[in-house]
Amino acid sequence: MQTKVENNKAWFLVMPVFLIVAFSAIIPLMTVVNYSVQDIFDPYTRYFVGTEWFKQVILDSRLHDALLRQFIYSFTILIIEVPLGICVALMMPTKGRGASLALILVAIPLLIPWNVVGTIWQIFGRADIGLFGAFMSYIGVEYNYASNPIDAWLTVVLMDVWHWTPLVALLCYSGLRAIPEVYYQAARIDQASRWAVFRYIQLPKLTNVLIIGVLLRFMDSFMIYTEPFVLTGGGPGSSTTFLSQSLVQQAIGQFDLGPAAAFSLVYFLIILLVCWVFYTTIMNMQKDK
């Protein structure tokens, strides 16, 4: 009888990645943990303060507000981008030059750097020189993202939808292309309606790519910084100040390294928790199949 021998030598192939991750993520994270329990004045003057910064950060109402805004923002863009991405994918041509052209057009926003996206929308939304702002003035809507919090939110959400719906659309498009033709043939034989084809063939087959899309978009939007920073600078007031911007204000603006480090760790734990929930859900859904 032959016994299967478990060989772990392949793990050595992972070593380069492990070393890169160690230098780029683990060591900085360890430094952040060290900072979070100290009051740092300069590299040579620092005092141990224990859990004081954590208490301050967790009880800080500004951070509660930023966290709430962050969740509202992430869920808003998910509610819009996922159905819209599916619709765009369903409408994209599947064959010929039209398919290639549609793919290129849809992918363009994804190729634009984040700070440029912010700048584009900053100009686009201005009533004097921007097309969107001018259009809103033309139809008689008083729109100013620099002074009105609702307008600022609308612009930030629209900007994200414009920038990232293509990602969901492309993921769904690839998922749709992977469905074998026989499923559609069977649906035609059964005289299934367009809705029935979507509900019982396309949507179930899109589950995996949609989960990846939701995970990517949630994580990315939860850590958003550049676009709102360029567009509104977190304002008016602090209406579009999200978690990462609060963190940067604290760490770089005020140079409060200790509280900022504690804040980073709490932020990291929230992201880790959400990632784990998503990951577990994905794995369990795949197991159920």
């Binding site: 360890m30 060290n34 900072y35 329990v37 224990g50 928790l273 197991k287």
Partner: protein, 90 residues
């Protein structure tokens, strides 16, 4: 190492984490685990339970720091008990 601003508590914390990882790896090599279902609502491996335990311990510590004035060592002891329960029956 001075640039990393080490303190004794954080050094002990990371030594503890490293010891847990080494211990778990050794345990896995000596006796490989199988996925099982305990009181948690999902099937877990030993590593999953460790991760859940560490993550929940972090939140328990944060809750203690934010909501009470009790010494943080109490939270650590509670978390140790929680980890044992989770690893054994989770």
């Amino acid at each position: 190492m001075a640039w990393m601003s080490w303190t004794l508590p954080t050094a002990l914390f990371f030594i503890g984490i490293a010891a847990i990882l080494v211990g778990m790896t050794t345990w896995q090599i000596i006796s490989p685990c199988v996925e099982r279902r305990g009181f948690l609502p999902l099937a877990t491996t030993r590593g999953d339970r460790l991760f859940i335990g560490l993550l929940s311990s972090a939140f328990i510590h944060l809750a203690f720091v934010a909501l009470t004035d009790v010494n943080i060592a109490v939270a650590t002891v509670l978390c140790a008990v929680w980890m044992i329960i989770l690893m054994r029956w989770g």
